[in-house]
């Protein structure tokens, strides 16, 4: 703490950021909570309906539960691709002696492209007629049986819309983990190698525990970004076919801006906020507990 600070100075520095943050983030959350008790289509009068929206959401809306489940699967796929991919590549990269910088840059490239462009691109990649890249690849390697319209098949569409999201940010997380891996003290590793540790034990016993704090941060980042996934499913399939790739976020958006059911959309928003808080709480709880044991 600075010795000669005044209350005014704290306020001068704190108020402007809080004001923006309050207006853009905190106040809308409160407003959503408020709206969730109303039925309102934007042009009619607002009508107080108590907990009706919540009852409808939990007990009478099959799409809601489907979207919730989809959102979890979407999250799982993104996490595996982003964190798993990032960890693997980062580990491999540390064993590389040349071209690290170049590869780091290339990995980050997809992150700079707008999601609209990515959606356009992947629609072509998954396409069956005209045959897209993915199906063509399967043909070439003799797995023609796997050919399918990835975005029309209810069994594959969710994975197909999750993959681009995972793909675009793998590089970002890889960088963070890579930096953490570099910071692992060489003496520790060398001592372990002298003791005859295999690469696997080296990784699980020395490297991973060392980067655990970074791993937690990265996991939280990836989880929250995964839970706010929207653009790519919305643009690629608009939730279809049926509700196979509907996420909570896209469902909320459609409820609000297509069905103009602002009250119910706010109810879903409130659920999303709680879902995210619970998810992050869980991650902290699980990963911290492991670290303590």
């Amino acid at each position: 703490m600075l010795p000669n600070r005044s209350r005014t100075s704290v306020l001068v520095f704190l108020l402007p950021p809080l004001l923006l943050y309050g207006a853009a983030v905190l106040f809308p959350i409160l407003q959503s909570l408020f709206l969730s008790f109303f039925s309102w289509n934007g042009i009619s009068d607002m009508e107080f309906v108590g907990l009706d929206n919540y009852v409808r959401m939990f007990f009478a809306d099959d799409i809601f539960w489907r979207a919730f489940l989809n959102a979890l699967i979407y999250l799982a796929i993104c996490l595996v691709l982003q964190l798993g991919g990032a960890l693997v590549v980062a580990s491999l990269l540390t064993s590389l002696r040349r071209g690290r910088e170049l590869i780091k840059t290339l990995y980050l490239l997809p992150a700079v492209i707008s999601t609209v462009a990515i959606a356009f691109l992947f629609v072509r990649i998954y396409s069956l007629e005209p045959v897209g890249l993915l199906n063509q690849l399967f043909q070439w390697v003799g797995l023609g049986a796997l050919e399918r319209p990835w975005l029309s098949d209810v069994n594959t569409v969710l994975a197909a819309v999750s993959a681009p999201e995972g793909w675009r940010f793998t590089g970002l997380y890889m960088l963070i983990i890579y930096a953490a891996l570099l910071a692992v003290p060489k003496e520790l590793e060398e001592a372990a190698v002298l003791d005859g540790a295999s690469r696997w034990t080296l990784f699980t016993r020395i490297r991973f525990p060392y980067i655990r704090p970074v791993w937690i941060t990265t996991t939280i980042m990836a989880t929250t970004y995964g839970l706010r996934g929207f653009d790519i499913p919305y643009l690629m399939t608009n939730g279809g076919p049926g509700q196979s790739s509907e996420l909570l976020t896209t469902y909320m958006y459609k409820t609000a801006f297509t069905s103009t059911d602002f009250g119910y959309a706010s109810t879903i928003s409130v659920f999303i906020v709680i879902e995210c808080l619970v998810a992050v709480g869980l991650i902290l709880f699980l990963l911290k507990r492991k670290a303590d044991s």
């Binding site: 409160l30 709206l35 049926g242 459609k254 297509t258 103009t260």
Partner: protein, 444 residues
């Protein structure tokens, strides 16, 4: 504004509540010739038409001409060609009471609510005052009407939807033009056996598949079916509804549409047809420049023809009655309607048809002759001639009729039905339940 004010005020722990809301002093929507002086200013038209299309280009030009006589006038055209995004913007702007002087909308339940609240100028009166009402094709105006027959939107186009087909491919599969809608599934099976995609469809934009679900009920029960269905007065479990549910499932089973159609876009579908891979393609006269001119792939140019919507046995509608939309219509905001808007509309609507017909398109009016472009194939004139012989009834696209929630659900369930993921019975149950849930809110 009142609602917003309430929303903000009630929610607000904040200064938002202090916002002065100047209440919507709606003018009388039936007063189509406001008195007073014409004061030129900038007016806006929120539209959903292609950015470089004929309507926008002509209206821009007419606005420039008008501005020459009325310095200070400007027409600001704000277009969102992507229809779902547009509808979203329109609905949210209406909720915010921020609609501009002119805005596009179909005759949707949402628009009807706006009309009921006195937010739109009565277009029938407006056209009658301008002495133009009788120039319009009745079908073009009917397309814009709400269920109660009232007219609040002005059409700028007139289109006919046909099923285009490739004669050579049909011949190869040994099938002829279908006599009845019920022939189509068997026809698809034959085409598939010959290794041909029967129908190319744009699944991504949803409306093309929704056209198909409208066909059987239109033939079986006439245009009233959808009017009743959307209010919950008719059901999918009724005979006409069952017929379409089962027929759609049959189309799917016969693999009528290209594989993976639900993720295929507009251009893909058209390319599929024009490259000679697909035998049929259901599209309107707005595609004449691509399908009936020398722009069409030479390899298929001589094989392309079209037929109109087939009838069925015992059909209550005639062969010359099918989908003939006059496109999204233009509504006039009652709140901002003043002598200037009125005078500009008079100026523009009078000059528009001639300009539009000169581009080779069908005008919504009958007082001008469409100019067939120099590079047209004979099919172009044949297509235009169909407009001269239309029946009284027309099949309305369902996406303009249903409430938005039901519409969204129908589009989703249709894909599942055609892909064979759900049975016609499941489809019927889900849709009837959805309509029962949502229709009352919109049509009370």
């Amino acid at each position: 504004m009142k609602n917003l004010f309430r929303a903000a005020a009630a929610a607000a722990v904040t200064a938002l509540a202090l916002t002065a809301c100047g209440g919507g002093n709606s003018t009388d929507p039936s007063n189509v010739s406001p008195a007073g002086e014409i004061k030129p200013r900038e007016i806006s038209w929120l539209l959903s038409r292609p950015a470089d299309g004929a309507v926008i280009n002509i209206m821009k030009k007419l606005a420039d001409d008008y501005a020459k006589e009325h310095p200070g006038f400007e027409l600001n055209l704000i277009t969102t060609p992507d229809r779902p995004s547009y509808i979203q913007k329109l609905e949210t702007l209406a909720a915010a009471n921020k609609l501009p002087e002119l805005f596009d909308t179909d005759a949707t339940p949402f628009a009807q609510q706006l009309a009921k609240q006195g937010k739109m100028v009565d277009a029938e009166k407006l056209l009658k005052t301008l002495d133009m009402y009788d120039d319009y094709r009745p079908a073009a105006l009917d397309y814009q009407r709400f269920d109660d027959g009232s007219l609040y939107m002005i059409p700028f186009q007139f289109e006919l939807e046909f099923i285009w087909y490739n004669k050579a491919l049909l011949e190869k599969a040994g099938v002829g033009v279908p006599k009845s809608l019920d022939d189509i599934p068997a026809m698809c099976t034959a085409l598939r056996q010959a290794g041909i995609t029967p129908i190319a469809i744009d699944g991504q934009d949803q409306w093309p598949l929704e056209r198909y679900v409208a066909y059987q009920p239109f033939r079986e029960a006439g245009p009233d079916f959808i009017q009743k269905l959307k209010k919950g007065e008719a059901k999918f479990s009724d005979p006409a509804g069952q017929k379409t549910a089962i027929w759609m499932a049959e189309l799917g089973k016969a693999k009528c549409f290209q594989d993976g159609f639900s993720a295929q876009g507009y251009s893909d579908a058209q390319n599929h047809f024009t490259s000679g891979q697909a035998a049929m393609y259901n599209i309107g006269t707005w595609e004449l420049p691509s399908l009936a001119t020398d722009k069409l792939n030479p390899a298929v140019r001589n094989d392309i023809d079209f037929f109109t919507l087939p009838t069925t046995e015992g059909s209550v509608t005639a062969a010359n009655e099918f989908v003939s939309p006059s496109g999204i219509g233009m509504a006039v905001n009652a709140r901002t309607y003043d002598p200037l808007v009125s005078d500009f509309l008079k100026f523009a609507l009078e000059k528009y048809p001639a300009e539009y017909a000169a581009t080779g398109a069908l005008s919504p009016t009958t007082d001008v002759e469409t100019a067939v472009p120099a590079n047209a194939t004979p099919l172009y004139q044949k297509a235009l001639d169909q407009a001269k012989d239309l029946g009284e009834k027309q099949a309305m696209p369902w996406d303009t009729q249903l409430d938005p929630t039901t519409n969204g659900r129908l589009q989703q369930e249709l894909v599942l039905l055609v892909q064979g993921e759900i049975t016609p019975q499941q489809f019927t149950d889900t849709m009837d339940k959805t309509i029962a849930q949502n229709a009352p809110k919109f049509f009370k």
